[in-house]
Amino acid sequence: MHTETTAVPGTSAGTGTQTTRVIGVLALIITSFVVVSAFFLTPADSVQGDSVRIMYAHVPTAWVAYLAFITTAVASGFSLARRHRTLGFDRVAGASGEVGVLFMAMTLLTGSLWGRLTWGTFWQWDPRLTTTLFLFVTYVGYLAVRRIDTDPHQRARRSAVIALLAVLEIPLVHFSVVLWRSLHQEASVLNPDGDVRLDDFMLFTLFAGVAAFTLIFAWLVIHRQRLTALSDIRQTVGLDAAIAARRSETSGVVK
């Protein structure tokens, strides 16, 4: 039989388990600390003033955006290379893609806001923001490709190829944007987090932020891929019923 059965953990109707609860609680605690620290405990920057506090949101979301990109790429690679558990890897790739798009959008928004508060402009053509913008658009395209196929294996294969092509594309984009912007000398000055001096406590808060957002990412991806697993199971069960209904259409004896 060529079906993949998936074990869904947890006895409740939801997708939560011990693991996700632990992750969730941890994320909540650390995020609370980060929020408090970012707003009240860390000092304002000498140059930028209070607008530097956006850094505690922007840097972690940027980190998660690229983590999501790598996760989707690695999961896609495994889903193509492995014969078994293909769908499992594909679910992770898809979930990471969805959550990643969210964080990419947040990175762009916070980065844009930060630039606006610091320099008065909503957008800088610096390599990091520009590459993130391309990453965002690319992943919107990836999600659109995931909606093409109805057969899960076909979907897994096609979107995995697209994701791996993105692995080629993004470094090329980044490299060419870096080269491009190097032609414009003034670009190196306009970098909000370039001249922020971080004391130990600010650094600590920043790392805590990264940790918190990574936990949130993991939590979201785990839940999202379990949702997909559940809907796949529902589709399988639905298929069983549909097959039975179809076979009953016959008037003769089925061989």
Binding site: H2, R83, T150, H153, I243, R246, E249, G252, V253, V254
Partner: protein, 223 residues
Amino acid sequence: MASDTTIHLSNAVVALGGFPALAGVTFGVGRGELVALRGANGTGKSTLLRLCAGLVPLTRGAAVVAGVDLFVNRVAVRPHVGLLGHRNGLYGDLTAKQNVQFVADLVGATASDVLSALERLGIDQRVATTRASLLSAGQRRRTALAALVVRRAQLWLLDEPHAGLDAAARHELDAILRDATASGATVLYTTHEIDQVDGTPRTITLDGGCVVSDVASTIGAAP
């Protein structure tokens, strides 16, 4: 180097968009057989052919065609199979002859193979030099059949090949199919009740996405 031309299906299920077009098909076809596939509309005949041609994914069950496991790698079955589906696979802007010639060039057939195929299918000079998009449905069908003849695939899958052909063309088609099996190809074609290649030894009937009968045919006289 002679490859396996058999079809082995075991409880094959093909779900298209959640709907089981094939709901558990089981049968086997040996090399050189000529088999008719009957059934009303919507019973899964076309999907069965497309499955064997490697064009749709196998959802459940097992399917091995020409030695290729369709679940593992259905792309690999394509070179062995000549499918004539509902669409003809022609380039509308090329002439009938150019279409057949292109296929011939790809598989290494000669120009005389092309001419003889066109002749057999009753495609005269005028039709051969007309753009495919300007031909009638029957003429396009015959052009597609000529391309199939030129390809010399080991497994021929034909979806209602008699549709749109007049009596003379049907007769010629029947002869072509018998010749194909005589030279070692396996032929599986779908049909409605009235169209049947004279002397088809075996008829499989589909209903509700599965096989309901698989009998030696008594219709028509053997050639």
